[in-house]
């Protein structure tokens, strides 16, 4: 099929138009995506004095920009988990009466090993390791 001048110009203009559109849409879309902030990766945080931490209680700790729930269970053992509910991102709490970790948003319940036992959470909470060095509580990532 011979290409006449009109068709050639049409094709050229369409291609140019499409390119122009992409040149507008791509930067606009990229602008909307927030840049990755350069955050130093945190591998461990100090979380206070072990002997001053009452048994059967909890505290939310800032682990970099993530919340971590630190619990001292009744035998004085410390446990730490990501405090972000695996269901829809709410912050969980430790219930001293039922001795469970619960999420008030949709009644998700985890046991003291972070396992999802009831309600909508699909996965267990990520666990952090806790060490006590010279009476100071230190939380580290499992790998860290």
């Amino acid at each position: 099929m011979p290409i006449n001048r009109r068709k050639f110009i049409d094709a050229l203009l369409s291609l140019g138009g499409l390119g122009g559109l992409v040149a507008i849409v791509y930067p606009a879309f990229s602008f909307l995506k927030p840049p990755k902030s350069a955050e130093g990766t945190v591998n461990s945080v100090k979380a206070g004095i072990a002997s001053e931490f009452p048994a059967n209680s909890s505290k939310i700790i800032k682990f970099g920009r993530k919340p971590v729930i630190l619990i001292k269970i009744e035998n004085n053992e410390f446990r730490a988990f990501s405090a972000t509910c695996t269901h829809l991102d709410c912050i969980v709490q430790y219930r001293t009466d039922t001795k469970q970790i619960t999420c008030a948003c949709h009644n998700g319940i985890y046991d003291l090993k972070g396992r999802n036992v009831s309600g909508p959470p699909p996965r267990p909470l990520d666990e952090y390791s806790v060490k006590v060095v010279q009476d100071e509580i230190i939380i580290t990532t499992e790998t860290g």
Binding site: P67, H87, L88, C90, V92, P121, P122
Partner: protein, 361 residues
């Protein structure tokens, strides 16, 4: 004297712009009167409340400061320090809720009187889009005081977006402005609430009103069947307009009553490092969806429950929007037409789910 100068201005304008369409509206537009005429006023009330929203919203803008460290403080400043600030904020919040309520009533009344049918398909579509935009207004405005309840409701609401396949994660990040709900989210929601949504909303509102104006009021079937001499009408101006104005006055009084006696609690400032308090819930018009998602198990076959729920709501919404284009067979013998039955079931579902949430089930 005054009349004379008014008619001089009128003829000056008429010579240049042809004022016939305005005259037609004022002197010739008629509104049918029948047993369902009451529902004609619902759209007008919604429009009135939208105007209240625009005015009080602009007033709040004078003092509101978006930002993690200033949003909550500025709203507290508005309600405690600024003279009548508490009133303006309460009117804004109440009017928002009433506006969505009347938009729902308007939509369902148009549905049950079959006003969406040919030739008003696009009036229905633009109206439904306006309702969705109004709900987006509500969702984005809810976060602006940066209090605990709104913070977690926004966390949940935006996290739900993330479960969508392929685009979910990106979309969530674009909405939040970061991985989590932070000050960046607040800035974005503020921009969406005061600039993006008003722009889009007004475009659709103008189109919606132009359609209504161009086609006139819908006449329900039983009215259409009447002989010409039995059909009763009232002039749009001044009869209908004055009744409209009277209803607006009544709604305005209800609004002020609610704002005075049922003020909106500001609550505690949002803190990303405290556990979610009991009673996290979205605004009432999202409740039926929120409650349904709660009942869907975490996995159905290989699909995540939430993905399935959102997918079902998306499809249902799409069908609802396109309902004027779907052919339903009318059953001559049936007491209730199938389409009416579907409408009743939908209303019942929404009401039931909303009540269940408030009962805490």
């Amino acid at each position: 004297m005054l009349k004379n100068s008014f008619s001089k201005i009128e003829s000056w304008l008429d010579e240049r712009y042809n004022l016939n369409p305005v005259r037609n509206l004022l002197y010739h537009k008629k509104v049918p009167t029948h047993k369902h005429s009451f529902w004609y006023y619902m759209g007008g009330i919604t429009l009135f409340l939208f105007c209240v929203q625009v005015l009080t919203g602009i007033m709040l803008l004078i003092y509101y400061k978006p930002g993690e460290d200033s949003a909550y403080e500025s709203v507290r400043f508005i309600v405690t320090e600024v003279r009548f600030g508490w009133l303006i904020r309460n009117v804004h919040s109440w009017s928002a809720n009433l506006m969505i309520f009347f938009a729902f009533v308007h939509m369902f009344s148009a549905f049950f009187t079959k006003a969406f049918k040919k030739p008003r398909e696009l009036t229905w579509v633009t109206g439904f889009i306006l309702l969705l935009l109004a709900m987006a207004f509500g969702f984005s405005g809810y976060l602006l005081p940066w209090n605990e309840l709104a913070f977690f409701a926004t966390k949940v609401g935006t996290d739900i977006v993330g479960v969508l396949p392929f685009i979910g994660e990106d979309l969530r990040e674009i909405l939040r402005g970061s991985e989590d709900v932070t000050g960046a989210t607040l800035t974005r929601f503020f921009g969406i609430h005061v600039a993006v949504l008003p722009l889009i909303f007004n475009v659709f509102l103008i189109i919606h009103l132009l359609f209504v104006q161009r086609q006139g009021m819908h006449e329900p079937e039983h009215f259409q069947k009447l002989s010409e001499e039995k059909k009763k009408f009232i002039p749009f101006f001044p009869n209908f307009a004055l009744r409209d104005a009277l209803l607006w006055l009544i709604v305005f009084n209800i609004l002020i009553f609610l704002a005075l006696f049922f003020p909106w609690d500001l609550g505690l400032k949002a803190d990303p490092f405290t556990p979610a308090p009991q009673g996290i819930k979205p605004e009432w018009y999202f409740m039926f969806m929120f409650q349904t998602l709660k009942y869907i198990p975490s996995h159905i076959l290989f699909i995540e429950g939430e993905v399935l729920g959102i997918f079902i709501f998306f499809i249902a919404g799409l069908i609802w929007m396109l309902v004027p284009f779907i052919k339903f067979k009318e059953r001559a013998k049936a007491k209730i037409q199938p389409l009416t039955l579907i409408g009743i079931l939908i209303v019942a579902f929404i009401v039931l789910m909303t009540i269940l949430t408030y009962l805490g089930l």
